[in-house]
Symmetry: C2
Subunit: 450 residues, 2 copies
């Protein structure tokens, strides 16, 4: 089959752009409005998106959260929200962010296996380490763990969760009413894990789910992040300003995955793209300018501060002057570097910088017609820059509708995107293999030897 | 308004009775069958139940879990399941069990506030401490914490969660598109908690939910458990074999609540009742005998072992002889005592004991006509034994249908039960007050003093 573009949609009810909530189209209470999220899910499914994607944090992001914008100070916990959307949809996948830093693997494994069962195989877990001092202070700490320590814990957390997801082999449950035998004890397995951070006996008390494992998603860009992603992720969310850095990332991750003994085709690279789509270039530009006009100075400054690690004090700086240097961060290192790069390359003032990143916080922002957006996606897709994209509509629901009504048909005309869902599960639609249960694999070896 | 009976329904998809899954009516895969849970929720709502209630554990209950029965070895995480049921229902409440022992209060607060928002005010949290060594071994421990330590942690956990639920005052969000002011910073508050077990700064990143606080439910029967319940719970689930012990418990809890400065009417006592309902006594008895016939000896023994703290070894004992003494437990102390009481009072053999408790594990089991069941409920309700009941249909869906079709109409005829939901939220249907935000109360005092 011809390779086609995979698409995720970032649809936070509060809007992606930090001033989205002020747009007349966007419900001001979108972040905590369930009916609005339902509408977004139905639109994403109409557009044949692979998945609805939600970020998450473990602290109210007041002044300078990475997500930025007061409209996102309070929202839903993503797994709880997504679960409620599953019975209202049939094919759309749901990729929820959950922390490896402040949750226990047994709880993580349970909730994602449950979501996968409830959705009949449409769950994905975006594995993150939780940065920010604010989150640390909500979990019994005075300050966050160092970057490298968070990644070590993350790697082990994922390892334990995957072991737990293999607790029951696919044919472990016999459920024979006549004999009263419910399961085959030989096909139930402990995790028997004892590592640096976790000691988990298992087995899980949720059965193996329709996808075997919910799809593992990751977004780390730093050296630690790339290592984790190449070792464990099946979908990698990434942020690039240029095709050449996207290509460098793409090739590096595929090579690392191969070095880990993985099939590089089963590691999908999906950069973020934030599109302002118009029927004409002028209309697209008007949409950009309009949303920009809603940004308050204080919110722009808070956003910059959050994205650069919470250590950049812009008090007293001329907003129409250049960005001052910032101290190194133990927070999101790759994001900090990216923001700096955008400022330097474009010669942006502080104000121009926050206006430009207000939509997508470092992801590629494009203002143009459907044809121009499709051109960009096609170029990256066909030149080792991307296997697909995570679309970040700047405000909702209109920018999502624009993408579905204008860009999707253009991609379909070019044969670059599906005209119907290929499969039932998220894994099937993404073209990812069903992961064999580690214990079942052992049985097969025994059978083959007989 | 006339006081009426409140009703919760325990509807585990795997069935309440340990052999329920072998009954021809019950889907053998009920525990992980979402469509089946949906059917149960719709039936409970048709029956005007206040809430759908689910227990939970943090280990696969193989040989002797407290819940007993292999059909429940793997199921759904309750909050994830309930969230998916909320958009399919309109009035039914959802009371999910979650552990104070192996979760962090910030995460607990988030998921229940999210469920309350998504369901438009129909969430309840059954606060438990997680006993069993098996669970401890899934959370980095070699053995469980002592009983008293678990309860101290539980009390503080609830305290922190309630503080977090008050992070945003009800009118904190202005969402003024014109000015760009999203919230009133004076109406957002940290938890600023530092205690024996938890240090949590807050605020929560979920807004205050429709009920203010999801309804707090508790089920502890021991001295520690009663203390926690009287201090924090609004609904108390309890297990009694006789009206007189139910009355002792009822009066004790109401007195303790009053001593804590609480209105005793806002602490609802709801014993568990497991009904086998027939159109005749004979039909009811046939239903009981049929389900009993499905119990495997090994499952009965495992159930007894689980309920008595996992320390009772029945190997080599005559199943038609008396129950041997068991060592004290650090597990569920009150349940251990109750099981012993049932054996002693009835002069049960080991076999008779596990057959009787197979339905309800220590809760009141009644085999009779709708009139006889209604008589029992009425007697307890009108004589300080209960404010309502948690109904544990022994197998599903039939025993739930029987209750809805036979007992509910009888209670309605007697004026003891609603004929339509009174309110929109679980709190309103239970007749519980909306909890004022602790910070808003302070504003009001200031206003009153002006």
């Amino acid at each position: 089959m011809t390779r086609q573009i995979k698409l995720g949609a970032f649809l936070p009810g509060g809007g992606q752009h930090i001033a989205a909530w002020r747009h007349p189209d966007q419900p001001a209470d979108g972040a905590t409005n369930f009916e609005f999220h339902k509408q977004l899910a139905l639109t994403a499914e109409r557009g044949l998106f692979d998945a609805y994607f939600l970020a998450d944090g473990l602290a109210a992001a007041f002044s300078g959260g990475v997500e930025g914008g007061n409209a996102k100070v309070a929202g839903f916990e993503p797994v709880t929200l997504f679960s409620a959307l599953t019975p209202l949809t049939t094919h759309l996948g749901f990729i929820a962010t959950a922390s490896t830093t402040y949750e226990e693997p047994y709880n993580t494994a349970r909730k994602f296996a449950s979501l996968d069962l409830i959705s009949d195989g449409r769950a994905g877990w975006n594995v993150v380490t939780t940065a920010t001092e604010a989150a640390a202070r909500n979990f019994n700490l005075d300050q966050q763990l160092p970057h490298a320590a968070r990644y070590r814990r993350a790697q082990e957390h994922v390892e334990v969760v995957k072991k737990l997801w293999d607790s029951f082999e696919d044919d472990a449950f016999l459920r024979d009413k006549d004999s009263g035998v419910f399961f085959d004890t030989a096909k139930v397995h402990g995790a028997d894990h004892a590592g640096e951070h976790f000691k988990v006996a298992g087995p899980l008390n949720v059965s193996r789910s329709p996808q075997g494992h919910p799809v593992i998603v990751q977004a780390g860009q730093s050296e630690d992040g790339r290592g984790l992603a190449a070792a464990t992720a099946e979908v990698i969310f990434t942020a690039h300003q240029h095709l050449d850095t996207a290509q460098e990332f793409y090739r590096d991750i595929k090579a690392r995955a191969a070095a880990n003994g993985r099939n590089p085709d089963h590691v999908l690279i999906m950069p973020g793209v934030s599109p302002f789509v118009g029927r004409t270039e002028e209309e697209a530009r008007e949409k950009y300018d309009r949303l920009t006009s809603y940004i308050l100075e204080e919110d722009g400054i808070a956003l910059l501060n959050g994205l650069t690690g919470g250590t950049l004090d812009l008090t007293g700086h001329d907003l129409d002057g250049p960005l001052p240097p910032a101290p190194p961060t133990e927070g999101n290192k790759s994001r900090q570097a990216l923001i700096r790069q955008i400022a330097d390359e474009n010669g942006f003032t502080i104000r121009q910088l926050y206006q430009w990143i207000a939509s997508a916080r470092g992801h590629f922002t494009i203002v143009g017609t459907a044809g121009q957006v499709a051109d960009m996606l096609q170029e990256w897709f066909e030149n080792e820059g991307a296997d697909g994209f995570n679309i970040l509509p700047p405000w909702l629901p209109t920018a999502l509708d624009d993408f579905v009504d204008l860009v999707i048909p253009e991609l379909q005309r070019r044969g670059l995107f599906r005209t119907a869902y290929e499969g039932r599960t998220l894994r099937e639609n993404l073209g990812l293999p069903f992961p064999a249960n580690r214990h079942a694999a052992r049985h097969r070896v025994v059978e083959a030897a007989e």
